[in-house]
Amino acid sequence: MLGYVIRRVFQSIVVLLIVGLVAFSMFRFVGDPIDNLLGQERTLEDIERLRTQLGLDEPFLVQYWNFLERAVQGDLGISYRQSRPVAEILLERAPATLELAAVSGLFAIVFGIILGIFTAIRRDGWASSVIMTVSLIGVSLPTFLIGILLIYVFAVELGWLPSFGRGEVVDLGGWTTGFLTASGLKALILPAITLGLYQMTLIMRLVRSEMLEVLRQDYIRFARARGLRDKAVNFRHALKNTLVPVITVTGLQLGSIIAFAIITETVFQWPGVGLLFINAIQFVDIPVMAAYLMLISVLFVGINLVVDLLYFAIDPRLRDERSAAGGN
């Protein structure tokens, strides 16, 4: 067991290092931060001085090494744009993204499962056909378009919901939350739908097909033959057996909800880390870009690591292989 864990952790670190390497080799192509940092009346001398000061004249491998050296000591550098420590900025922005991700995740799971069950049980009803068709549109329309459409309908035309931002937030000792104010909750609705729509459709279709599969099984037929009520058959027996793959997929999707919040956050001017990253690209704010990319890859690698370890716990074959290898 321990050997397996150590091996997986080691592999994860290698993946992280490679992501960082690729990221740093790309930064040069994003552009040059110097022009954004100096005004119109800069001289070439100023440009060179600042470049040396920021260490941008070093080869990218050296820059990467310097970044790693400081990162392992907990120092993510200082943002070029805001002149503040990157770690501080990230901590400030993280609650917005995490709350948005949580709400859209919840939205996706709840509606995905309900609609999935509904379309499976009433597979031939007209309502199911409508839901299935609409869900197709949901998957095929790009996120920013859905966002803009929702803004125009619910903010501009109907005036029910705010068009951008997070509303009023309450500061709970370093964690700002929009859950405690009416405007904060209203502000969450449109971005959460925009971000969660794809995941909701995915879960809905997964639940539907699993459910249809399960409903064909013999034990469901026997249950019906025993005269159990539909409710008990559908929800106690069929649904439970459907949920295993759904939970796996949902877990893996959680990472992508956070990572792909970028577009939703840009459309709604949602003050999270995704918006921060977009700003950083425009400004070529290398310390922020590097920290964000590393953070997201830590997130993905972490989730995958946990999933692998869970498999290890669940699947006895993996353990057997290891002990067999150990036996040699």
Binding site: D32, D35, N36, G39, I78, S83, P162, F164, T181, P271
Partner: protein, 521 residues
């Protein structure tokens, strides 16, 4: 919730006409710092003009008027300027404004760490005569000095020292990066970088209050579609800019207005003039035709500026004849005629210059720097093709654009220039002077245009006190640049702001949004 609050505020306002208002505005860029000496960029200086003040300031018509100085006069034969300071001015924290603060702000703004250092290149020293008199000496007579310091903002020396911010710190940031303490009409009451900045009126402000704002909030909104939606829904009272393609539709909507004007920025085409060969020629080492003024003039004749203005800019811009717009001081009236669109003459001129078949070259353009820059370059490309030229257009984000220009990686390029001093001397210094690193001249003259007479005239213009003589020299420079087609000025970029109907405001050509001119009706 917020909407309902505003609605009730409007109702109260109707009952009590003196009652003032919440005002929310948005722009694409957040001012990256609250330190007025750390970054010399329009978003920062424009925003901080509401918070800090200089000795002089610009009025609604861009004319310089007294601010923290009540008056100024030249010393002797132009050895410097004596400024008489306003008495009884208070900083936001209650401290008194005195000559010491001016001296301190000079030292701070001209320090090695400051981005505003170049403004003080002509200054040889600053002396405090008494508490309310300051002499600023210049190394040569400098008639436009008071004009050139309208954005030099005065900081309280005591506040800066107490908060360990006596020098700007761009890399690490310091107290003044996030906090502000000026003498301006508004004080910063909350600052969350990149998210929102809240301002409230400065109770002890020295000037008459024209606005009726009780609280103002600035939010950067990057996505233009989001900003337009926020304005339409009433979540935001004013946005800058309105995307050109949305301007017409927006002005037709009830409840909103589009405010149009022209900016100080002139958009132009520049040429690689120093290079002997083309970078993107059709054969290796093809000679550079743009060294020939006749070819450059043919390019100017081939570009149909009125058509670009009508289609790409949708009638929102004005053609330019020289490197500055007519609103600038020192604009050359005798050279106000633009080069007429004449493709036949362009073809003939190219044939005469030895290019009857035209030639291929590289045109570089930014795609996110100026309004519709990429579309303008595409139009230019097709217009040049019509006279037989074969431009290869490459567009890129501005973050990669300036480095490419610095590496001389172009044959022709697009540039926009807004003179920081609002004077015609500014583009001569930066765009038309022979590049000279030591004298800090021609630092944006990427193509290396060089004319001995222009170089000779520039220092004379800079030190000429007599308005008429100075204008004559500026006219001469404009005539030379036009005669040699050093650049092809295309148009003056438009300003497009959007606001709710109940907002009245003043649009200044430098695109600065001045909050004290806003009234919420």
């Amino acid at each position: 919730m917020l909407r309902r609050l505003t609605a009730s505020a409007v109702a109260i306002c109707a009952a009590l006409p003196v009652m003032a208002e919440d005002f929310r505005w948005a722009s694409t860029t957040d001012p990256q710092t609250m330190d007025p000496h750390a970054v010399n960029s329009a978003p920062v200086l424009g925003f901080l003009n509401n918070v800090y003040e200089g000795l002089v300031r610009r009025g609604r018509d861009m004319a310089v008027e007294p601010a923290l100085a009540t008056g100024w006069e030249a010393i002797g034969n132009g050895e410097g300027w004596r400024f008489t300071l306003r008495q009884g001015v208070k900083f936001h924290d209650g401290a008194d404004f005195t000559a010491e603060d001016v001296l301190f702000s000079y030292e701070r703004a001209s320090s090695e760490e400051a981005d505003t250092r170049s403004w003080f290149a002509p200054v040889s020293g600053v002396t405090v005569v008494d508490d309310f008199t300051v002499d600023i000496m210049t190394s040569a007579p400098n008639p436009i000095f008071p004009d050139s310091i309208a954005n030099w903002m005065i900081m309280d020396s005591g506040w800066a020292e107490a908060n360990d911010a006596t020098r700007p710190d761009k890399e690490q940031g310091n107290y003044a990066t996030l906090n502000a303490n000026g003498t301006g009409a508004f004080k910063v009451t909350a600052r969350e970088p990149g998210l929102r900045t809240e301002l409230q009126p400065h109770e002890g402000w020295w000037d008459t209050v024209d606005h009726n704002i009780t609280r103002a909030e600035f939010t950067p909104i990057q996505n233009p579609a989001t900003a337009v939606a926020a304005l339409l829904s009433g979540d935001i009272d004013m946005i800058n800019p309105v995307p050109i393609q949305d301007a017409e539709r927006l002005s037709g909507q009830p409840g909103v207005q589009v405010i149009q004007g022209i900016e100080a920025r002139v958009i132009m085409l520049g040429f690689a003039q120093e290079a002997d060969t083309l970078k993107y020629g059709e054969s290796d080492g093809a000679a550079n035709p743009f060294q020939d003024p006749a070819v450059r003039r043919a390019v100017a004749q081939a570009v149909n500026v009125p058509a670009i203005l009508q289609t790409t800019m949708r009638g929102n811009a004005e053609a330019a004849s020289q490197l500055v717009s007519p609103a600038m001081r020192g604009y050359s009236e005798p050279n106000a005629a633009t080069i007429a669109y004449d493709p036949d003459a362009a073809r003939a001129a190219l044939a005469e210059a030895g290019y009857p078949e035209g030639f291929g070259f590289g045109l570089k353009c930014p795609n996110d720097r100026y309004l519709n820059d990429e579309a303008v370059c595409q139009a230019v490309t097709s217009m040049l093709s019509q006279v037989g030229l074969r431009p290869q257009l490459e567009t890129m984000p501005v973050r990669g654009y300036w480095p490419r220009l610095r590496e001389d990686d172009f044959d022709m390029y697009l540039l926009g220039w807004s003179p920081g001093t609002f004077d015609a001397e500014h583009p001569v210094r930066f765009l038309a002077s022979t590049p000279n690193e030591e004298k800090k001249l021609g630092s944006w003259n990427f193509g290396g245009y060089s004319n001995a007479r222009v170089d000779e005239l520039l220092p004379m213009i800079q030190s000429e006190i007599d308005e008429t003589k100075r204008q004559a020299m500026l006219d001469e420079v404009a005539a030379i640049l036009q005669g040699e087609t050093a650049y092809v000025p295309l148009y003056v970029q438009p300003l497009l702001w959007g606001a709710r109907d109940n907002i009245s405001l003043t649009q200044r050509p430098d695109n600065f949004f001045i909050l004290r001119w806003v009234t919420v009706n």
